[in-house]
């Protein structure tokens, strides 16, 4: 949702190479870490979020507007999502579909998924393409970019062993 219309608190996304994006919190408050993985398509977000393939990953949605048709029980893959977090450009709070039983923001919150919106996900996805796999932290707690960047860089050393 556009920041002018949203009441959501701020969130930060810090990459293991020190890049930090600022945005709004989506889903649960708190902090999460995981490897960033791109996810394409305007639709299919619920399947992707509840997929076993997304375990411990932070999904980066390259299509900018996610959540347009809400969520429904039939499109759920695993009963409980196992992914680490989500990065979006714009999350929809007023979805539309005859199939929906809820909206994606509530779903993310109920499932304890920490995420961020307002991020230029095209730029981020292209960065992943060029820089290779990267871990990242999303936080609604530590809102100091420098501090979060330091922690993200440390995180990378322990998880991926990738030199910065």
């Amino acid at each position: 949702m556009n920041p002018l219309l949203s009441n959501q608190p701020k969130a930060l996304l810090a990459l293991a190479d020190g890049v930090v994006f600022e945005g709004l919190s989506v889903g649960a408050a708190g902090e999460t870490t995981g490897e960033l993985v791109r996810q394409d398509g305007a639709s299919g977000y619920q399947e992707a979020i509840s997929s076993p393939d997304a375990e411990d990953k932070v999904l980066v949605f390259t299509y900018p507007q996610i959540g347009n048709y809400g969520v429904n029980p039939d499109d759920q893959v695993l009963d409980r999502p196992v992914l680490a977090g989500v990065v979006m450009r714009d999350l929809c709070y007023t979805p539309s579909s005859f199939r929906l039983t809820g909206d994606l923001p509530s779903y993310l919150r109920k499932n304890g998924i920490v995420g961020i919106e307002g991020v230029d996900t095209r730029a981020l996805a292209m960065h992943l393409r060029d820089a290779g796999p990267l871990a990242a932290i999303i936080s609604t707690v530590d809102l100091d970019p420098a501090s979060l960047a330091r922690r993200a860089q440390a995180l990378n050393a322990t998880t991926e062993g990738r030199e910065i």
Binding site: M1, N2, G18, V20, F21, D40
Partner: protein
């Protein structure tokens, strides 16, 4: 599979003139197809009657025939060229219809021409709704319940079994022409009667109404191995009931879940397989019930289409190009993706932006017709916008329309009819979108709006968010805003002018503040893969994004590519509209080619998805962006061009020139000062006085009293018009004080705060158009065109001939000499167009357009002089003297070229069909032949009116004004000698009888039946020669003239309304009767 080697020569059929429902998107696809097949080593034979196309340039195909798209002329081309194969699915419905007709006539078989891409049987299954419904049932898909009517009785019987409203769709028509929604039996009878007449096979489908269902389109493609991909899904903003060409449309589909989309994709591929599309692209339309997801197949087009052009531009996937390659045997995995160069086209492209298409209408040109949108397409053009979100793209699309409503009525409350506000919301019209936004401002609920409009709540909620940001802005002042807030507003797609309105500032202040905040757009790229691979084509759009707060230098937010070549920006023409269409795009495309060849980097800016200019490989860089001051300035800031070309894209860029120059942008070619000199009537008149060039007496008026005073001084008839117009918007000829008063009442509405010009109208004058290029020192005339209709009919609507067919050499010399003096005095650098009228042996200058005109493509094709390319090179600094130009006017031609206008009256029932100084045509055709009558005959055949070459087709009706009575006798005698029977009104019949020519006297349309009107309606008349009287004629006779014109349009009877046109027509008939008109390749001229 490798490409086929058994084929050497391939014929491609174009789509003919631009008409509503079939516009320049087929120039885009046909040009792509020609280029792709030529690159594979095939020899290409092209047939198309439309000279304003890039595809008919001699460099695109090997053999180019600008000939009528009739069986006879295509057969003549086939006989001459002996192609091995015919690719029929690039030329729209016209191309398919030609292929079917050629097949039926046995011509393809006779000459052994193989239809590739899609066979005739598949075309028929796709197009014939009965066969299609049966095919769908066989693969378990549901079509709309309904049945075919071949008569009014059938229709009544079908209606008995179903409930109203019912949808009527005639078979085999363009863009759903003749379709509509019937709410009761009376409307059903009207629609069916009209549909039966329009349908090529007299068939109208009557269907269950799915009004209010979602309309979803799929663009799919398959190759000969059966591999299929989906290129794009498109969701219409308006629900079913509004033609997809008239609806705002969004790609990709926004409100369907993945399983629903998977299902539609699978259905689409199953459908093209069943229909028998062997390879290539197709378009499938579905209706989806928003309550339960129930899917009905509406139709499929086994060819490239308007939607496929949109899908190509929306995704970067060149559908026509790949379709053509598949047609010659390549498979999807063998064709390399041009943009990524990393893989093939064998998988669905992916997008990471939102695309919004919006239609552009021209109802203001057709007063009297209803502007309610139905299943029959009425839009004359469209725009596309790319942005990160729907909100951003939607607002960009709305400002791309250039209709003065970027604020959705917030600055223009008069837009809303308060008394009928609810209808404004519920009835689909071009203005409905503004009513919907206004209703949200008035706190109408989403539910209420959904119930009234059927527009999906997802879209309504996005508009509600836009309105919420409007409110936020209204509660703030520019000084209160910070950078983050400014960025957030820009991310919602607001333009600076909109922000200025709501915060109470000027656009300039907003822009300055925004730039001080460093809130500027990023350059993003259309790459078919959402950034998964690096892009090798510079196909860009602008978008507002937040950069990383740390490490921004590590991330490519802005994808601009720096080069050291000097850059030239070309501003193209925006949406097609009447008066500004493909002809200007043609000029811009040529400029891009010429500038690239001259060592510049060409940067194209345009927002029209139908065009060749918005193909990513036409220019070095493409910005798919609105042509507003703000958007153009943003691109100037990004690209830092050495110059901007404003004089090739019609009035849109010309109108920006002064403001851009004032902002310090280098304008290439004719400077804004010179543009103003040519366009400001007073300054221009003073210049003509100084140069001793005659021009019609004129005056200016702001009120009726002033206008009446001018009229007294100059005398009637008067040509009246508002200032600064293109395509003659708002022009009229008035004959009396009474007409003057009613014109002014309307004109002030059309153009507020602008004075009205009144010119003495030169009755019976011959009008001339001169196209050329000047460089400040020298003036080069490319072509002189003589209008066939007399002065007073807009040159865009008049037939013309090049070279002039009736002009004395002395007058031609005077025209050339006058043109040189005038153009150099104004200071034109680049293209120009001068219009003259020759009246009683005197040459009058009507106007000078310091820009490329609508006739440039025709002039170039008629003479072989590439005017637009020359203009571009001159504007970039070269001199005419150094360009090694062909002789002026193409030297001594041994052929004549005629152009005829194509009018859209059949789309606008109820509208006046009278031609005048306001342009109404949508397109044009060209005929080339050894003599003027044959060339003119070809244009008449190309417009599908056909020529009444056989006296058994009916009588010739003759009714002329007194001044023409003596001259018409010669024509009447020729007709009688050819065996035609004549009929005429009492006066004309008497005059003819007196000259010894038998002529049956019949009553006027306003008199007792039977009369001429009943004769036309019953098909007894095959040709009408009816010249209207001037001021001396009574109102009732003028009413007869109008009625006859209306009937002629309705019953498609050729109607000559000037004696010069009648003369040309009679000579054309004589030529056509003498045998084949012959065909000629442009390469042989």
């Amino acid at each position: 599979m490798p490409k086929r080697t058994d084929l050497k020569k391939i014929m491609i059929i174009g789509s003919g003139p631009i008409v509503i429902g079939q516009a320049c998107e087929f120039d885009y696809s046909g040009t792509q197809a020609c280029k792709a097949l030529k690159a594979l080593g095939y020899e290409i034979v092209l047939v198309n009657s439309n000279p304003a196309t890039i595809m008919t340039d001699t460099s695109v195909a090997d053999r180019t025939y600008v000939e009528p798209l009739t069986n006879e002329s295509i057969a003549a081309v086939i006989e001459k060229e002996r192609p091995d194969a015919l690719l029929p699915n690039m030329g729209g419905q016209t191309g398919l219809n030609c292929a079917v007709a050629l097949g039926k006539a046995g011509i393809l078989e006779k000459y052994g021409v193989e239809v590739i891409g899609c066979d005739v049987e598949a075309i028929q299954v796709g197009e014939d709704r009965e066969k299609f419904a049966k095919a769908m049932a066989e693969i378990g898909l549901e079509c709309c319940p309904g049945d075919f009517a071949y008569s009014l009785e059938d229709a009544e019987r079908i209606a008995d079994t179903m409930s109203f409203p019912l949808i009527c769709r005639p078979s085999y028509t363009l863009g759903g022409a003749g379709g509509g929604v019937a709410y009761d039996r009376r409307e059903l009878r009207e629609l069916v009667a009209q549909g039966l007449e329009l349908s090529a096979n007299g068939e109208v489908l009557i269907e269950k109404s799915v009004l209010g269902w979602k309309e979803i389109e799929y663009e799919v493609m398959r190759d000969a191995t059966g591999k299929g991909i989906a290129i794009c899904s498109i969701e219409n903003f308006d629900p079913m009931g509004v033609h997809t060409g008239d609806s705002i449309a969004i790609a990709p589909a926004q409100s369907l879940t993945q399983p629903e989309l998977d299902k539609l994709r699978e259905y689409s591929l199953r459908i093209i397989d069943k229909v028998g599309v062997s390879c290539g692209g197709s378009n499938i339309q579905f209706a989806v019930n928003p309550e339960d997801g129930h899917v009905i197949v509406i139709e499929m087009n086994p060819r490239v289409s308007r939607s496929s052009a949109l899908a190509s531009k929306a995704t970067g996937f060149p559908i026509a190009k790949v379709s053509a390659q598949l047609a010659v045997g390549l498979t999807l995995d063998e064709v390399q993706n041009e943009i990524t160069q990393a893989d093939s086209y064998a998988h669905d492209p992916s997008v990471d932006y939102c695309v919004v298409k919006a239609p552009r209408f021209a109802f203001e040109k057709f007063p009297g017709t209803s502007d309610t949108l139905t299943t029959r397409m009425k839009a004359v053009g469209e725009v596309m916008a790319l942005g990160r979100t729907f909100e951003e793209s939607f607002q960009k699309a709305m400002r791309s329309l250039e209709n003065g409503e970027v604020m959705f009525g917030a600055d223009h409350p008069k837009l809303f009819d308060e008394e009928h506000f609810r209808e404004g919301v519920s009835v689909p019209t071009p203005e409905r979108i503004y009513y919907v936004v206004e209703a949200l401002r008035r706190d109408w609920t989403i539910e209420r709006l959904y119930n009234l409009t059927g527009i999906d709540p997802w879209f309504l909620n996005r508009l509600k968010d836009i309105v919420a940001v409007e409110r936020w802005l209204s509660n703030h002042r520019l000084d209160d805003m910070d950078a983050a807030q400014m960025l957030a507003v820009k991310q919602m797609g607001f333009c600076d002018a909109q922000i200025a309105h709501f915060v109470g500032a000027t656009e300039t202040e907003v822009r300055a503040t925004r730039k001080a905040f460093r809130v500027t757009p990023e350059v993003k790229t259309v790459d078919t893969c959402s950034g998964a691979h690096a892009a090798h084509a510079e196909y860009h759009y602008k978008a507002y994004e937040a950069r990383p707060v740390l490490g921004a230098n590590l991330v490519t937010c802005d994808e601009r590519v720096a080069t050291d070549k000097p850059r030239v920006m070309i501003l193209s023409a925006g949406p097609n509209r009447i008066g500004q269409g493909i002809e200007f795009d043609y000029c811009c495309v040529h400029a891009a080619y010429a500038l690239h060849a001259a060592g510049f980097e060409s940067v194209m800016v345009n927002c029209n998805p139908e065009t060749v200019s918005t193909d990513y490989d036409t220019s070095d860089k493409l910005y798919f962006e609105p042509l507003t001051f703000e958007d153009v300035m943003d691109i100037v800031d990004i690209e830092r061009p050495v110059g901007v070309i404003c004089s090739l894209g019609g009035q849109t860029p010309i109108n920006l020139a002064a403001r851009l120059a004032a902002a310090g942008v280098p304008i290439m070619g004719t400077q804004p000062e010179a543009i103003d000199l040519a366009e400001d009537r007073d300054r221009f008149a003073a210049l003509l006085d100084q140069l001793k060039i005659a021009y019609p007496a004129s005056g200016v008026a702001e009120t009726y009293a002033q206008a009446a005073e001018v009229a007294e001084r100059i005398g009637y008839p008067l040509l009246v018009r508002p200032s600064y117009v293109l395509g003659g918007r708002g022009m009229a000829i008035v004959n009396s004080h009474k007409q003057l008063r009613s014109y002014l009442a309307e004109a002030t509405r059309a153009s507020q705060d602008h004075p009205v010009y009144l010119d003495s109208f030169l009755q019976d004058a011959v009008e001339l158009d001169v196209d050329g290029v000047a460089d400040g020192e020298q003036c080069y005339v490319g072509a002189v065109l003589e209008q066939i209709e007399e002065a007073g009919i807009h040159s865009g609507d008049s037939a013309c001939c090049c070279p002039p067919y009736s002009l004395a050499q002395a007058m031609l010399d005077e025209v050339l000499e006058t043109t040189r003096r005038l153009v150099l005095a104004v200071g034109v650098v680049g293209a120009f167009n001068v219009q003259y009228a020759v009246h009683n042996g005197t040459l009058y200058c009507i106007e000078l357009n310091p820009r490329a005109s609508r006739t440039v493509p025709f002039s170039s094709k008629a003479t072989g002089v590439p005017l637009a390319a020359i203009a571009a090179r001159v504007m970039s600094g070269e001199k005419l003297a150094d360009l090694d130009l062909p002789a002026e006017m193409g030297g001594d031609n041994d052929h004549f070229a005629c152009k005829e206008a194509v009018l859209p009256f059949d789309r606008f029932p109820g509208a006046s069909t009278v031609l005048g100084p306001e342009m109404k045509s949508t397109g044009e055709v060209m005929g080339i032949a050894k003599n003027f009558p044959s060339a003119y005959a070809k244009t008449q055949l190309a417009i599908s009116y056909g020529l009444p070459t056989d006296p058994s087709q009916g009588k010739v009706f003759v009714s002329v004004r007194d001044a023409d009575k003596r001259a018409v006798a010669g024509l009447a005698r020729e007709l009688t000698l050819m065996g035609y029977k004549l009929a005429g009104t009492t006066g004309t019949a008497k005059a003819l009888e007196a000259a010894g020519i038998p002529c049956q006297a019949v009553r006027r349309a306003s008199e007792m039946k039977p009369n001429v009107a009943t004769m036309v309606a019953s098909g007894e008349i095959c040709l009408i020669i009816n010249t209207p009287g001037g001021a001396e004629q009574g109102e009732s006779m003028r009413a007869d003239y109008y009625e006859l014109r209306r009937l002629a349009v309705h019953h498609r009877v050729t109607n000559c309304t000037t004696l010069s046109q009648a003369q040309a027509m009679v000579e054309a008939i004589e030529q056509a009767r003498m045998g084949s008109l012959g065909v000629v390749a442009l390469q042989d001229l």
